[in-house]
């Protein structure tokens, strides 16, 4: 057991019979136990509070506070302490009652030294299990609560270090690399970049409570929003030779929202359209107002989505299987986008025809004029 080297299991025996206290102490002597005794319930409880024992023996029949009450007080104080009751008259009833109140086991008087040693050992083993289970549960909770921080540090740091060295090395070796070696460097960088982005996407799902973003809403102009989102996707589009074309109605009213998350949502959808587009084709981003609703439509002429798959596209963790290349895609991005848009009282729908293209349509209400 991975306990501290000098750790002694702490045992308390509460019994009004001095001869029991003495003999029990003697039986456990010479072992790695720290044994204390108390002649009644009150003193016993004081001792429990003081030394925080691993195991407590309680005589059920004592003058003053009854054993069952002592038991209850101990468990109220710390229910990880293992308790064993000593029953003077071996009636099953009192033992059962004690077990119901949380005692781990009972020891009928009279008992042999061997019986006492055995039940002590079992009680202490029980205690270790209880403590371990609690530690594990606590660790699991911490892992969940700090998931974002742990993931970011344990996964992102090494990837960041690798990528930084790839950046440095490909620059330093540039003159000595053949074209194909150079291309391999570039592919490695892209793969690692994809991983880092994926981790960031997971982090957002776990660490950001999207439903709370409406606490920091400001007025947002649609054209600025769209151009910022396009800016983020542009490098990818240029690499793929996909043209981004906008058609934005003039004088669009403002909406209320969180700009950063809307840029993210829009960027994800435009990025997705680029991903499933063929080289040389175009992705159009159109925006107009109709009846107090801003509509933003993102259309591609790419591979399209089969009808039966459409309902899944915006649900959790969908990943299309008809990507035009082996490009990595994380459907998680679309899920985040949907959540962000819904947090803006908006909706997003998708329509698609295989080999013709896909259109995502976002609808968000315009900002209400107070007064």
């Amino acid at each position: 057991m991975a306990m501290a080297m000098n750790y002694k299991d702490k045992i308390i025996i509460i019994d009004d019979e001095e001869v029991i206290l003495d003999s029990c102490t003697q039986i456990l002597q010479g072992r790695n136990y720290d044994v204390s005794t108390a002649p009644d319930g009150m003193q016993g409880l004081k001792l429990v509070e003081e030394i925080k024992p691993d195991l407590v023996f309680i005589d059920l029949k004592m003058p003053g506070m009854p054993g069952l009450e002592v038991l209850k007080h101990i468990h109220d104080q710390d229910n990880t302490i293992v308790t064993i009751v000593i029953t003077g008259y071996a009636t099953v009833d009192s033992a059962v009652e004690a077990m119901k109140k949380g005692a781990y086991d009972f020891l009928p008087k009279p008992f042999t030294p061997e019986e006492f040693r055995l039940i002590t050992r079992r009680g202490l083993e029980r205690r270790k299990l209880v403590v371990e289970a609690i530690t594990l549960r606590r660790e699991k909770e911490m892992l969940r609560e700090n998931f974002a921080a742990i993931v970011s540090h344990e996964l992102k740091s090494p990837l960041g270090a690798i990528q930084q060295n790839l950046f440095a090395l490909s620059g330093e070796l540039a003159e000595n690399l053949s074209e194909s070696q150079n291309a391999r460097f570039e592919r490695m960088k892209i793969r690692i970049d994809d991983l880092i982005k994926l981790i960031n996407a997971w982090l957002r799902v776990y660490s950001v409570d999207i439903s709370k973003i409406n606490e920091s809403f400001t007025s947002i102009a649609i054209p600025a929003l769209i151009s910022k989102a396009i800016e983020n996707v542009e490098p990818h589009a240029v690499r793929k030779d996909v043209h981004l074309v906008t058609g934005i109605e003039e004088q669009l009213p403002l909406i209320e929202g969180d700009e950063l998350s809307l840029v993210e949502a829009l960027g994800n959808i435009i990025g997705n359209a680029v991903k499933y587009s063929f080289a040389g084709s175009q992705v159009t981003i159109k925006s107009a107002e109709k009846d107090g609703i801003i509509e933003i439509a993102i259309s591609d002429t790419g591979v399209g989505i089969p009808e039966e798959e459409l309902p899944n596209v915006l649900s959790d963790f969908y990943r299309g299987n008809s990507a035009t290349s082996d490009e990595s895609s994380h459907g998680i991005g679309l899920t985040i986008s949907r959540k962000i848009i819904e947090a803006h009282n908006g909706t997003i729908i998708v329509t698609s025809k295989p080999s013709i293209g896909t259109t995502f349509t976002i609808r968000i209400p315009v900002k209400k004029n107070d007064g």
């Binding site: 921080a149 270090a161 790839l166 620059g171 982090l203 660490s207 989102a229 950063l260």
Partner: protein, 140 residues
């Protein structure tokens, strides 16, 4: 190149530091490294640097922020430009990507995310140094 600029990196990840240092070395900077906040602060007390590259998550938590706070209070170090390089931009401000974050821990600072592309890194470093120098000439 006029006189060589002196940079200090405070970051506890030696592998990451090597990647970033060789880019800066290659661009002709004189780069020193401290692998923990304590030696970093010591170096800052002993020598003058033209720029500090500072990691945020070090040791038991966000110790980089403590360093930035100390710099801010130090009249001598307050004007030194700081480039914050961090892997935790999002947790720091709970922000989404797509927008630069300016924590303004010190008079002149910028923030980039790990890993940082060489061109972006060198651009930020030289701009920060130039801005700091321009200000010095103006006020002196």
């Amino acid at each position: 190149m006029t006189e060589q600029k002196r940079l200090l990196i405070i970051d506890d990840d030696p592998d990451f530091v090597e990647g970033i240092k060789s880019i800066l070395d290659g661009a002709g900077y004189n780069v020193e490294v401290a692998y923990n906040p304590k030696t970093g602060l010591q170096a800052l007390q002993e020598k003058l640097y033209d720029l500090l590259l500072l990691d945020i998550m070090m040791g038991r938590g966000a110790e980089g922020i403590m360093i930035a706070r100390k710099l801010r209070k130090d009249p001598k170090l307050r004007e030194m430009p700081v480039l914050i390089i961090t892997g935790i931009r999002e947790q720091m401000a709970f922000l989404f990507p797509g927008e630069p974050v300016h924590p303004r821990f010190v008079a002149v600072d910028e923030l980039v995310e790990k890993p940082v592309e060489p061109t972006l890194l060198l651009e930020k470093v030289s701009t920060l140094i130039e801005t700091a120098e321009a200000r010095k000439t103006k006020s002196g």
